[in-house]
Symmetry: C2
Subunit: 338 residues, 2 copies
Amino acid sequence: MNQTVKIRLNDVKTLAHDILKGAGYGADHAQSIAEMLYTCQLDDCQSHGLFRLFMCIDTIKAGKIDGQAEPQITNPGKAIIRADARGGMSLLAMQAAMPELIDKTREFGVAAMAINRCFHFSALWPEVERLSAAGLAAIAMVPSHSWVAPAGGTRGTLGTNPLAFSWPRQGKMPFTFDFATSAFARGEIELYKRAGKPLPDGVAIDKEGNPTNDPDAALGGAMLTFGGYKGSALSIMIELMAGPMIDDLTSLESHEFAEGKGGAPYHGEIVLAFDPAQFSGGKLAENDARAERLFADIIDQGARLPSQRRFAARERNLHRGYVEIPAALHEDLLALLP
Amino acid sequence: MNQTVKIRLNDVKTLAHDILKGAGYGADHAQSIAEMLYTCQLDDCQSHGLFRLFMCIDTIKAGKIDGQAEPQITNPGKAIIRADARGGMSLLAMQAAMPELIDKTREFGVAAMAINRCFHFSALWPEVERLSAAGLAAIAMVPSHSWVAPAGGTRGTLGTNPLAFSWPRQGKMPFTFDFATSAFARGEIELYKRAGKPLPDGVAIDKEGNPTNDPDAALGGAMLTFGGYKGSALSIMIELMAGPMIDDLTSLESHEFAEGKGGAPYHGEIVLAFDPAQFSGGKLAENDARAERLFADIIDQGARLPSQRRFAARERNLHRGYVEIPAALHEDLLALLP
C-alpha cells in the first residue's frame, strides 16, 4: 500500500457495523460480521479485513441472503452440533454455536460443528483459533465455487476449498495454518491480470484443459490444486466432509445456486474439535513439551511457522491501538456509509 | 516384475503367518499382520504386501518389539478409544479396538481411536476402508522417522507422515486416498539410487540444505514435503495429532528411539471416524447422490479417482483366486520359513 490511513481499533468495528446495518443486515448479523472483520484487520490480514465489506454488500445486492435470519442450533448426534444459518451469513450461526462446540468437545473428547445453509466469505483461522484459545485443537473446512479442476481433469469441479488447523500452545500464540487447496487464491489470479504478469506454471488450465500462464485464459478455464494429485484428493475430501456429509452443497452446486450473481458463495462448513487433555490421558505438560520441541527444531533451522507474520502484526497493532489500511480503501468504505 | 509366481489367496495368509510365527511373533500377532499383508497383496499393493515380511522380521531382530504384547483398550474420553499396543506391532491393537471405534462413532456421531506405543509398518487405507465398509467416513494419520525437512528448513524434522481418507459409497467401492506428505516415499528414492537415475526437482535437499537431484545426497540430507509450505503445514498437523495430542512420539523422537537399528518405526497413530447418517440428519440418500454427482463430474472429464487401479486389481484377483508376486520375492520368502 502507498498512502495509508490509521483507524483506531474500536473504530474498525463501528465503521464495519454501520456500513453493514445501512446495507440491510440486522444488528446481530452486523455485530458478528464486524467482529470477524476486526479480527482479521487486527492481524493485517487485508484480504479478509474491512476490504470484505464490499463482498458483504454485493451479497445483499445479489438478493438471495436473508440479512435478518435467525440461526437455529440442534444436535443431530450426541457429539454433533448443527448451526443452521437459515440463509444468512455464516458468522452469527458460528458465533451462536461455538460455546456448545467447546462444551461438547470437553464432554466427549471430540466433537463436530456443521454450519449449514450459510453465505460464507470469511477466513477460517479466526474460528479454529477461537477453539485453540479454549485449549482445544481444531480443524475447519469449507467448499466454495467450482473453479478448480481435479488432477488430470479439464474443467472446474472443486472449490478453492480451504483447510485450517490450530493447536494450542501454553503461554504462546497457537500453531495455526489456513490455506486454500487451490494452487492460487482466485484473487491472486485477478492481481496477476491487473498487473499484466504471466502466471507461474502449474496454477491454471485454459478452457480446453491445456496448461496456461495467461490470467485471462485461467479465469475462463480452471484453476489447479496445490500439490498435484495429493492436493486434489485433499480437496475432494473437503468437498465431501463439508458438503454431502453435513447435508449441504458441493462447490458445483454452490456455483449453480449463485446463478452468476456474485457475492459470497452459499454452502456449508465443518469444524472438528479435539480435547488434547483427554487424548493425552492427563499427561498434558509432557506432551506440550514434546510439541514445543518440534516447533523449536523447525524454527532453529531458519524455517518459519505459519501465521508468525500475522501474530507479529496483532501484537504491534494491539500495542499501538490502531490498524493501517490503504487510503483508497478507506475512502471507498466511507462512501458506503448510509 | 519379470518372472512371477501365482499364490492362491488362502496360501498368502498361511505363508505370512508361518513366517511370522517362526520369527517369534505370537499367534494372534501373526494372524493380524498376515491379515493386513493379505489385504494389501490382494490389491496388488506390492510395497505393503508380502514384501513387508522382511521389515517385520527386521523389527523382531532389532530387539525392541514385544512379539507377544497384549493390547490394552481404554476410554480416556467418552468418544475416544485408546488401543495401547504395549510395545507390539500396531495391528493387533487396531484389530481389537476397531469394533469399539465403530460402536462409539454410531453412538456419538464422531469418535477417535489412538493406537499407542506400537511398531508400525502398514498402509493406512485398509484401516479407513474397514470403517467406510461400515458406512462411516474416516481419516487416519501417523508420523514416522524425521527424514523430511519443513518448508524453508535445512534438515529432517518431520516424518513421511501419511494421511488417509475413505468415504462410503452405496453399492460401490469407497472413495479412498492414502498418501505420504513427503514428495516421494523413502523407498522411491532408494529405487532411483539403484537405477542410477537423478531425482526430479523439489524432492530432496543435501546435508547442507541445498536442493539436490542426487539420490545419495538426498538419503544423507533430507526429503521435502509435497506441495511446498502447504504440504509442510499439513505434515506438522499430522505430527501433532498423531504424536503429542495422543501422548505419543513425534517423528524426531521415534527416530531417536530406533537408534539406527532398522525395522518398523515405533510411535502412535490416530484414526477419526464420522457417521454420515447422523451428520446429514437422516438425508443420507439425497447426500449420497450429491457425492456421486461430484465423482461422476470428475470421471467424466477423464480424471481418475484415487485407488481405482487398486480396486480393479482386487476384483481381478478375487475372481481368479490368486495373486501374482515376483518369483525372486517368492524365493526369498520361502527362505524365511522356519
